[in-house]
Symmetry: C2
Subunit: 407 residues, 2 copies
């Protein structure tokens, strides 16, 4: 008998009818001869509603209390799902994160799992129960409730799957899987049957918001296969796993894009040691995440330093960087918030120059100006004007023949 861990997101359990439908899916898996552990998110907009309620009494609620408050959302959905399963005649039991043995550190609102001792989960499985675990939450050694931050329920699911040595961790959500590009931009975009963990990470962090990178990383560490599929259809999803690198070597897997990009350029910076740290340390302290950093080759010991931040951080970043630029003798500071990232992602591209060249040529042929370029082992990213990002994604999807299912 195989053990399968399933996770259902907030939109999949948004109301009683949807929960009943999720219950029927779980029963199918159980009837397939499997043991089933289910992780649920809070119903629909519950989490946002609870945050709104908190803000009505305190504009900046203490995180310890907020975590306790938010954790109730997943408790509610877990009990309702258990009741729906009872109504279908199946044995089921809901467990909180604490009861499922998820011990975390005390970093409220973004706690990390320290230990997972799912003794109670195993006991309940042995009693023949379908076990429903409230996602997104854990408990500290001091018995205080924590939440795991963004992507928390995915993390709960993968962590449980890894610890319980499940056959697979199935993430059911409101998308059908991982696509070669955003289907809203590229009608020919194709759903991938499978993808590697690292490729998925690059796709996820670059805007293909299917699941949170933290859970994918955990899957990679424990080599736990993860299925991403829709809870609203029976179509097969995408399997994220580690065994496909050989077959797909040197192949672009998908095109990611991200509109949340703003650029800051410090013009005319004296090229001397300590300048970069003088500029970036204050940003780190202000909790501003700096993404791409590019420093042009220096001419006469004068260089330009460019970096990108999320658009919401631009004003803050500029107000921090401008006085520094002045103090280090830079000429000026300019910004642009009308940019976007477009990336091609695939294992092994780094050692195969053809991919970069193909990407740049394709953009050139479309008359799209490339403002910045960065690369990782499995990704090439160009920063372009946001008004051209759709053209860029479409052209790249075609250039790399992603509409064809070639392994």
């Amino acid at each position: 008998m195989a053990l399968i861990v399933q996770k259902y997101g907030g939109s999949s359990v948004a109301d009683a009818e949807k929960i009943k439908s999720v219950a029927r899916r779980i029963v199918e898996t159980k009837e397939g001869g499997n043991e089933v552990v289910v992780v649920v998110s809070a119903m629909g907009d519950t989490t946002d509603e609870l945050i709104q309620l908190a803000r009505q009494v305190n504009p900046k609620p203490q995180e310890r209390e907020l975590d306790v408050l938010l954790s109730t959302g997943e408790i509610v959905s877990s009990t309702i799902l258990a009741m729906a399963l009872h109504n279908l005649g199946y044995k089921a039991v809901s467990l909180s994160g604490a009861q499922a043995g998820i011990e975390t550190d005390a970093i409220y609102s973004k706690a990390r799992i320290l230990r997972l001792e799912p003794k109670r989960v195993i006991e309940e499985l042995e009693k023949g129960n379908i076990v429903i675990v409230a996602g997104f939450q854990g408990i500290t050694k001091g018995m205080d409730i924590t939440t795991l931050g963004r992507g928390g329920s995915d993390t709960t699911a993968v962590a449980l799957a890894a610890t319980l040595k499940a056959q697979i961790c199935q993430i059911y959500t409101d998308v059908e899987g991982v696509f070669t590009a955003d289907p809203r931009l590229v009608p020919e975009a194709r759903k991938l049957k499978e993808i590697g963990y690292e490729e998925m990470l690059e796709l996820a962090t670059l805007g293909a918001k299917v699941m949170h990178s933290r859970a994918v990383e955990l899957g990679e560490v424990y080599n736990m296969p993860i299925l991403v599929a829709s809870s609203f259809s029976d179509k097969s999803g995408t399997i994220i796993h580690g065994g496909i690198m050989m077959e797909v070597r040197n192949k672009v897997r998908g095109i990611a894009h991200d509109l949340n990009v703003a650029k800051v350029t410090v013009v005319g910076v004296p090229d001397q040691p300590g300048i970069a740290s003088a500029i970036f340390e204050p940003l780190v302290k202000a909790n501003i995440s700096v993404d791409t950093i590019v420093q042009n080759a220096s001419i006469n010991n004068i260089t330009d330093l460019t970096f990108t931040v999320a658009r919401g951080d631009l004003d803050n970043a500029m107000s921090l960087v401008q006085p520094i630029a002045k103090s280090i003798g830079a000429r000026k500071c300019v910004s642009d918030s009308t940019l976007a990232k477009v990336s091609i992602i695939g294992t092994g591209m780094q050692n195969t120059p053809g991919y970069a060249a193909n990407m740049f040529r394709t953009l050139y042929e479309q008359g799209i100006n490339i403002q910045l370029i960065t690369t990782s082992e499995i990704r090439i990213t160009c920063i372009v004007g946001e008004d051209r990002v759709e053209d860029a994604v479409k052209a790249l999807h075609k250039a790399f023949e992603l509409e064809r299912d070639v392994i």
Copy 2:
């Protein structure tokens, strides 16, 4: 420094504004130089809404799951109240029933407290926190969430007050205290400054729905003074305590009434051993609570047996009793669901026949027919037609001079 336990009911914390106002009251108590432990109910109609949600997926939700579900209501209100206190600049921490050390049996939906070890409550008080405890809930030895059933939050508050040796347990609710009669019926009804535990118990079980008898009983066992007052006004409430019996001996304290009364009479019952048990055992098994039982003196070994039940149980009771009546050779079975109870309550009446006589004379003078009479040590109850209950309460209130504050 005195320790005060306060409890705020659902209507007192129904929305963010009301919670802010409760926070200001708590701060006043804290600023009065006290340590404060607060027990809260769920906000407004939360509990009913959660039950409705559960019924949408399962008409008869399993009690274990229902308890977990309902316990979230009090968790939410406890965190929001803690946040509101933070916003006023005060240290506060919310604790679940489990964190507060409330261990119960595993009788879901009506668990009884087995042990209370408020180690964490004491630690948090020592740190200078106002401690907010989620009412109505506990945890079993096996770490499953339970709820304490009706009046549960009052019970949590009195139990905590007793264990922590608080100076007083203050129950804040939507009434101003305990009145000599229902002020809607008797405009002259007077709020009592104080009342004994047993008198309060009789008033509470007979329809003066101020607080649940279970919490009053607990208060009596631990001799914990309980203040009942309104959270919406600054008027002084009623103190329930054990030290006033001497002064108020032989004094009627209040008039209670209850409209939820139906009567069953088995006519022409052979007066022989075993008849009563033949009639009542099936009712007990069907979970029908039989209240007043009266058996007339038998004439020629034939008697009439009359008892009352809640109106909602009448049909069920009749269908159980009719075949039994037939089998034991009774003449017939009749019922009346248009009845009401009216009671006078006060310590020491039993040994002072004047009170009973005064009650019967008053009702006679009003032309009110008494159908049944029962008494306890501190109560005399008459069953009358529901159409005359208002007249009865008014006349008795006047006859016993309850509008006057005499000790």
